[in-house]
């Protein structure tokens, strides 16, 4: 676990630099065990920064989502670096963003945090409901220690660990300017057993499974908004002309939305799990993303967000790509 004093010291050094505009990190949330993003503009703000297993957000999203307000006439745009704290999974978003030329490497300053896993806040809240006073989560050995004013409790690590961490291949960031702690070796992998199980079911059964999920969708677009890969100026899925899908919330349009969203992430999703985390109606979006991830890996030996020099998956081909499905 990264030492918080070291983290703040480093943050202070970074935000004091002339060529750095701000630092995106984490600070405690307003209640319970939550943490939330912090946008640190100056050295006096660094004392609120933390890194704990509650720091679930993928901060890479904010780099591409930050609105570029019109630059007033006669002024220059502020092109200084943005510093960002990233876990292993978050760093893959940076790699993928750079593969997609969202920005040049020198535009960001990356503080890498080798990650031993974060919690699934839903699991925490199920176990400790209605905690209003601020609490803290720390990892000690193979246990999460949750402390509030009311006391301290220990829970086995795997009980609260986020699902994405249970499948994480890259706990240590793949891109960084500075690593804030010792590297963490891979402690998990994805065996896709649930995906394979679902694949095997009959067509009608699968449709029914997904119809139930998609029928819950309220088309709030949270999954898209939080995604570090979804940052088009004008999302094609909301456009009216041509209209790929109606805005009305019914199962056909919702299904179309989810097909489109998942397909747009094929070969791009870096498995940070943010979409599913923010879904207010608990649609298992990662089961869609992981299906593509698995196929892309099996068919094309391609893993998004691991090498910024890779050509985009669907902008390239091999002459001997599989074609046994073609008549």
């Amino acid at each position: 676990m990264v030492d918080v004093n070291k983290l703040r010291e480093k943050a202070k050094e970074v935000v004091s630099r002339d060529d750095v505009r701000m630092l995106i990190g984490y600070r405690p949330g307003t209640y319970g065990f939550r943490a939330r993003p912090a946008f640190v503009q100056g050295p006096d703000e660094v004392d609120e920064l933390i890194f704990t297993p509650a720091c679930v957000n993928n901060l890479a999203s904010y780099i591409v989502l930050e609105e570029k307000l019109p630059v007033p006439r006669g002024e220059e745009p502020d092109l200084r670096k943005v510093a960002v704290m990233v876990k292993g999974c978050d760093s893959r978003a940076l790699v993928q963003q750079m593969e997609e030329k969202a920005y040049d490497r020198e535009r960001i300053l990356v503080l890498g945090i080798p990650c031993t896993g974060v919690v699934d806040m839903a699991k925490v809240e199920a176990r400790f409901p209605n905690v209003l006073e601020r609490g803290e989560i720390a990892l000690e050995g193979d246990k999460f220690v949750l402390s509030t004013g009311g006391g301290k409790e220990e829970v086995a690590k795997e009980e609260l660990l986020a699902d994405k961490c249970l499948r994480c291949r890259y706990p240590t960031p793949l891109v960084y300017d500075e690593l804030l702690d010792a590297e963490v070796a891979r402690f998990a992998d994805d065996d896709y057993s649930d995906i394979v199980e679902l694949e095997k079911r009959a067509g009608a059964e699968k449709w029914a499974y997904w119809e139930e999920k998609f029928s819950r969708c309220i088309r709030c677009y949270s999954c898209r908004n939080v995604c570090p890969m979804c940052y088009c100026e004008d999302c094609v899925l909301e456009r009216l002309n041509p209209q790929w899908m109606r805005r009305s919330v019914d199962v056909s349009e919702n299904t179309a939305y989810h097909i489109s969203r998942a397909y747009h992430l094929a070969g791009r999703c870096i498995q940070c799990g943010e979409c599913q985390r923010v879904c207010p109606v608990d649609i298992p979006l990662m089961e869609l993303n992981r299906k593509f991830y698995k196929d892309v890996e099996e068919l094309y030996d391609y893993e998004p967000g691991t090498n910024a020099e890779n050509p985009p998956l669907l902008s390239t081909f091999k002459v001997d790509d599989r074609e046994d499905f073609i008549l």
């Binding site: 995906i195 679902l198 694949e199 067509g203 009608a204 059964e205 699968k206 449709w207 029914a208 499974y209 997904w210 119809e211 790929w244 899908m245 109606r246 009305s248 019914d250 056909s252 349009e253 299904t255 179309a256 097909i259 489109s260 998942a262 397909y263 094929a266 070969g267 869609l288 299906k291 593509f292 196929d295 892309v296 068919l299 094309y300 998956l313 669907l314 902008s315 081909f317 091999k318 002459v319 790509d321 599989r322 074609e323 499905f325 073609i326 008549l327």
Partner: protein
């Protein structure tokens, strides 16, 4: 699935101008008879076909979709069919995962000289979709206002 033998599926096909569309034309000049269930949209290259068109067609009422291009190495635009092959392999697997039977999403290579193959492809696709029945579950709700 559909036991109703009267079911005549409706299939939307995207054909590249240089090979498959020419192959379908050749079937015509050769007076090769085949089922009338397939309606064709001509594009210049199979690489133009966005896999989301498949979803769109199914939503608009098609029971199946066919994308047909030049054989590997023959693409008029060098590589368009290779891009199409990647995209549709992924989309087809994905739709199958959602419960859309693979018989509904088909891809073929038909060259300008393969009028007879075009007929075979059509028969294969039509029979395949007949097997799995109408695709009503994804149909767009009709608006009446």
């Amino acid at each position: 699935m559909a036991e109703n033998s009267d079911f005549e599926p409706n299939i939307v096909a995207f054909l590249c101008n240089w090979c498959s569309y020419a192959g379908a034309d050749l079937a015509g000049t050769s007076r090769i008879q085949y089922p009338s269930n397939v309606r064709v949209i001509r594009v210049m290259c199979s690489g133009r076909v966005n896999p989301l068109f498949v979803m769109n067609a199914l939503q608009e009422g098609a029971d199946g979709v066919l994308i047909s291009g030049c054989h590997p190495g023959d693409c008029h635009y060098m590589h368009g069919n290779y891009y199409a092959r990647r995209r549709f392999n992924l989309m087809r697997n994905f739709l199958e995962y959602l419960g859309v039977e693979p018989q509904r999403v088909r891809m073929s290579w038909v060259s300008a000289s393969e009028g007879a193959k075009w007929k075979e492809v059509i028969e294969e696709v039509v029979n395949g979709v007949k097997e799995v029945g109408p695709m009503d579950q994804f149909k767009r709700r009709q608006l009446n206002w």
